[in-house]
Amino acid sequence: MKIFADLLHSLLYAPQRLVKQAYLVEFIKNTPDPDRGYALSALTGELSIQGVKAGLIRKIAYQKCDPVLFDLSYDFVGDLAETTALIWPNTTRQVSGIRISDIISKLKTANRIDAGTLVQEWLDQLPESQRWALLKLLTGGLRVGVSARMVRLALAQSYQIDVNEIEQIWPLIEPPYLELFNWLDGKADKPDAAGRAVFRPMMLAHPLLESEIAEMDFASFQAEWKWDGARIQLVSGSDGVRIFSRSGDDISGTFPEIAKPLSWHGVIDGELLAGNPNKIGSFQQLQLRLNRKKPSVKMISETPVFMRVYDILFDNNIDVREHPLEYRREVLEAQMKTGLKTCYLDLSPILADASLANLQTWRQQCRAGGLIEGVMLKNKTSSYQAGRIKGSWFKWKRDPLTADLVILYAQRGHGKRSSFFSDFTLGAWGEGSEYDAQTLLPVAKAYSGFTDDELKKLDKFVRENIIQKFGPVREVEKTLVVEIAFDSVQYSKRHKSGIATRFPRFKAIRWDKPARDANSISDLIAMIDI
């Protein structure tokens, strides 16, 4: 655990990416299996330890110290693992040599109550830095500025191979990645994906910038709607059909009506939408399904989903990713009429005459209907590669909606923002709601879109204008107006105001504008998509 704690400490304070990568390479070279694999999986976010969740950590912390003091500390520190590690008293029973692999194997066989006892025992035996590392390992979310990609780059660098080889193998392996290390160390063959229903890294789009529009040769791009659903990958193999989310999580259980065996084997890419191809449901309906790990029969029939397909990666086990998009589209269209012909799969249409003028119009028109976020532009010659590839795929979203809202409440952020009031609840005037026109009703929670400098000013405003405290929440004087951008407005029974905004973020702080001139609920209702 000490080596891992030292690694986390070094990564956290290393100022540059390259330095972080160098620390990782050192760690990979000098740490035995399976500890190194488990440690790396904690960094990539793939390590999942059953039975030890935030709730359990909080429970054992409450047993060890005064709950009121723990909550006040947590509110200040902004991180459960760190708060617990710091507040836990040092004992004289400290031992060295506790290994990550011991911890994981003991927890694997423990039930929930035993797990709590084990964790307590370890916390008593470790010094603060290792308590922190242990709790980070157990709860995930390490926040040391390392991405999964950086881990793979470090692996490639450690063994002097191309990172793409690691990327290809990655979906096949599981923590502690023994298959990978055995191959890298020359002790086993390279793991093989052929025929197995595993996730393949997805190709992603860059946002199209205003400055790039003039340079775009629209004729060489295939245009499609950008559907407002959830990106998924359907993989059909000899071992069945599996559905993966954008991040590679297996969500087959959530959508059993789509994860049904197919005679065709391969991999397709598309958007999961609520409803059926003839009548698409709202994103809110889709969310009902996304939130359910195992939907009831009733839920499946009441809120059906389908997949709108737009790309193909493997066709009958032949890798077509290196072929240009035009070719893949032909293959996909042919299969949609044969091997992929089912009621829950349909083809995302190509928009004809995708000239600049047409694209501009479509982009703005797509607000009516509400289920389309904008247009996608995909280079017809592009191969299917993992990640965001320059010049290949672009997303061109419709312009966001905006409203002037008043800051009502503020809360400290988490992680590196824990010392700033950075999470804001914003309100609109009550006119148009069932409440008084003179009251401000919460309609959005926003915590992004401002610069570091603006954040400092917002933080100062909050500190100087607190009128009440509710636990970690501070109510402030209703004087500051901010212009908020958001993707859409929807009716919502769950909110007092009767409406909810989607992905609200700061656009500008209107220090000059009086609160009286902020927007009302009726202004926002007028923006709801038809």
Partner: protein, 338 residues
């Protein structure tokens, strides 16, 4: 029965009614009793200032020799009277000259501790425990997550990184008053004898410390804008600078600087990270959680008032100990920096 009606909270801060005097007032007043020289406690513009000789000298360095019409220097543990109120200044262990203000009136003894600490510090007189009826404490680090290690152990980390990166200059962000001199003294105590470089803003205060008999060894000012490898190589050297100078051109001139910050906040990792710190040192001039509670017990006060910081937690802990406690919610004292 204790009577505290003679000590009030005004907009300017704590106010001793019969003596017509404020403690660390945040606005200009006629009579100010100053606990210590940090800028948020010792402001300019008061007519009459009462403080320890060291604090008066610090204020003169900061605001010029004529910073007040009248100055009354009161040595530690020397008793004075102000309109029937008995006053004593007692060492607080925070920085050079820092004092707790002990007040006796109407058969009640109140101590306003100002900022204080209990950990060792070779640059100032150690905190003196004095029994009282009401103890007024700060709560800058008033949460159980704050448990400051010994400063000697933290200083070892500095010497380790210097050996680990001989080609880099080690730049330490530290307050010009107190923290900087304490780090220098700690380095000296750890056997480091080489010249230590200081930012120009610290020069006069370091000289003042030396004039009060505190050994700081060989110091050299690093002139702004004149650091380059031809003139003086600062690789493998320690350079002290106020936190405000860390992000400026002054710091960029140093070759591959390793940024160190020394403060009690460094214990919270993400906070340290936020400041772009590569080596956080937990060295604080304030009492940590255990030391605040220990002090409250030792002074045997029946009532505790909390001035600024994390008052909720301290008040909760006092209530658990059976003590009456309340927050004064004084504003104007910086609680986020040291």
């Amino acid at each position: 029965m204790i009577d505290t009606s003679w000590l009030k909270i005004s907009k300017s801060g704590l106010y001793i009614v019969p003596a017509k005097a404020h403690i660390d007032p945040v606005r200009s007043v006629n009579t100010a009793i100053i606990t210590h020289g940090h800028a948020d406690h010792a402001r300019a513009g008061h007519k009459h200032v009462i403080a320890t000789p060291q604090t008066l000298e610090i204020m003169a360095v900061r605001y010029g020799a004529n910073f007040a019409e009248q100055k009354t220097a009161v040595k530690y543990n020397q008793k004075i009277q102000l309109a029937g109120v008995n006053l004593t200044l007692i060492p607080a262990g925070h920085v050079l000259g820092s004092a707790q203000i002990a007040m006796e009136y109407a058969d009640t003894k109140i101590i306003a501790a100002g900022d204080y600490k209990r950990k060792s510090d070779p640059t100032c007189a150690p905190f003196q425990v004095e029994k009282c009826d009401v103890f007024i404490t700060e709560a800058t680090f008033g949460l159980p997550v704050f448990s400051h290690p010994t400063p000697e152990a933290e200083i070892q980390k500095l010497l380790e990184v210097q050996q680990l990166f001989p080609e880099r200059s080690v730049i330490i962000g530290a307050y010009s008053l107190g923290k900087a001199q304490r780090i220098i003294a700690l380095l000296r105590a750890a056997g480091y004898e080489d010249t230590i470089f200081i930012h120009g803003a610290m020069k006069k205060l370091c000289e003042l410390y030396v004039s009060f008999g505190i050994e700081l060894g060989s110091l050299q000012t690093t002139p702004i804008g004149r650091i380059d490898n031809q003139q003086i190589s600062l690789a493998n050297k320690f350079i002290l600078a106020p936190p405000s100078a860390m992000g400026t051109k002054w710091a960029q001139r140093l070759c591959d600087p390793l940024v160190v910050s020394a403060s009690g906040w460094m214990q919270v990792r993400q906070r340290a990270k936020q400041g772009g710190v590569e080596l956080p040192l937990v060295i604080s001039d304030h009492a940590d959680w255990n030391d605040i509670l220990r002090t409250i017990k030792e002074v045997e006060a029946s009532e505790v008032w909390v001035t600024h910081g994390r008052e909720d937690a301290i008040i909760h802990a006092c209530t658990q100990m059976g003590l009456a406690a309340k927050a004064l919610s004084l504003i104007g004292y910086e609680d986020e920096s040291e």
